[in-house]
Amino acid sequence: MHVGLQHYLAVSMILFCLGLLGVILRRNLIVIYMSLELMLNAANLALVSFSRFNDKLDGQVLVFFIITVAAAEVAVGLALIVALFRKRQSAHVEDLTSMKL
């Protein structure tokens, strides 16, 4: 069977799910952040393959924007993590919650 759109989408979907699992299960904020990047990349992959298989360049433009926004987001997010770490001396999500159950 020829490799088609659905193959790329499947890869994208699995990548997305892996990222999601990472966000839900890992405790280290930085790793969670990397998992978020994985999810973003999964979206990128889906968009690029849509773009390719629908003969439209708009998907790639969107990916370009996603990469830009992701770069901005990473910068801000990491700065926040650094600020949080300075305050709490930890980058574990559980240590960051200050609410009482």
Binding site: H2, L9, V11, C17, N44, A91
Partner: protein, 177 residues
């Protein structure tokens, strides 16, 4: 020999490459989030770099040359270095092995399962894309689109970058007044 000849002549090399890159991408992604050998965030970061590189291989297969290059240039070259910087700066220790969150695991599996299910259902009802794609991710065409039809988003994104830059500078100051 004959088989390989056939493969090459039928353009099946690209299919083989797809499977190679896809497998590489997914394997590295798994190792990002769940590395059985090391829980060091640096390891995760390095595998994420590998994921991104293999993904840009997939982009190449999709003829998105510009994006493949940008993916490596921005993600691997800049974003991930930033990650490494922060990890080194904070001197993060290995993630402690606390008790596994059964609730989280169950919920994660449920959501992943439902996403997979929805994916297949959606795929079944979707109409297939072009069988023989002709689109080339030419830098020229992309640039033209970016500066004509998408000028406004482009400018907005640049403003967003500026805002992020200012925000980061402010956040990184030792004393937040």
């Amino acid at each position: 020999m004959e088989a390989i000849n056939n493969l090459i002549s039928s353009g099946g090399v690209e299919d083989v490459l797809f499977y190679v890159f896809a497998a590489l991408t997914l394997l590295c992604a798994v190792l990002v989030i769940a590395n059985p050998f090391s829980r060091n965030p640096v390891t995760s970061a390095m595998f994420l770099v590998l994921t991104i590189i293999s993904m840009s291989g997939l982009f190449l297969l999709l003829h998105a040359f510009f994006l493949a290059a940008v993916q490596i240039l921005v993600y691997a070259g800049a974003v991930m270095v930033l990650f490494l910087f922060v990890i080194m700066l904070l001197d993060l220790k290995e993630e402690a092995r606390r008790k596994i969150k059964f609730f989280g695991l169950a919920a994660g599996l449920v959501s992943v399962g439902s996403i997979v299910a929805i994916f297949f259902k959606a795929l079944a009802s979707a109409k297939p894309g072009v069988a023989s794609p002709k689109l080339e991710g030419e830098t020229y065409a992309l640039g033209k689109l970016l500066f004509t039809q998408y000028t406004l988003p482009f400018e907005i994104v640049s403003v967003l970058l500026l805002v992020a830059m200012i925000g980061v500078i402010l956040l990184s100051k030792k004393k937040l007044e």
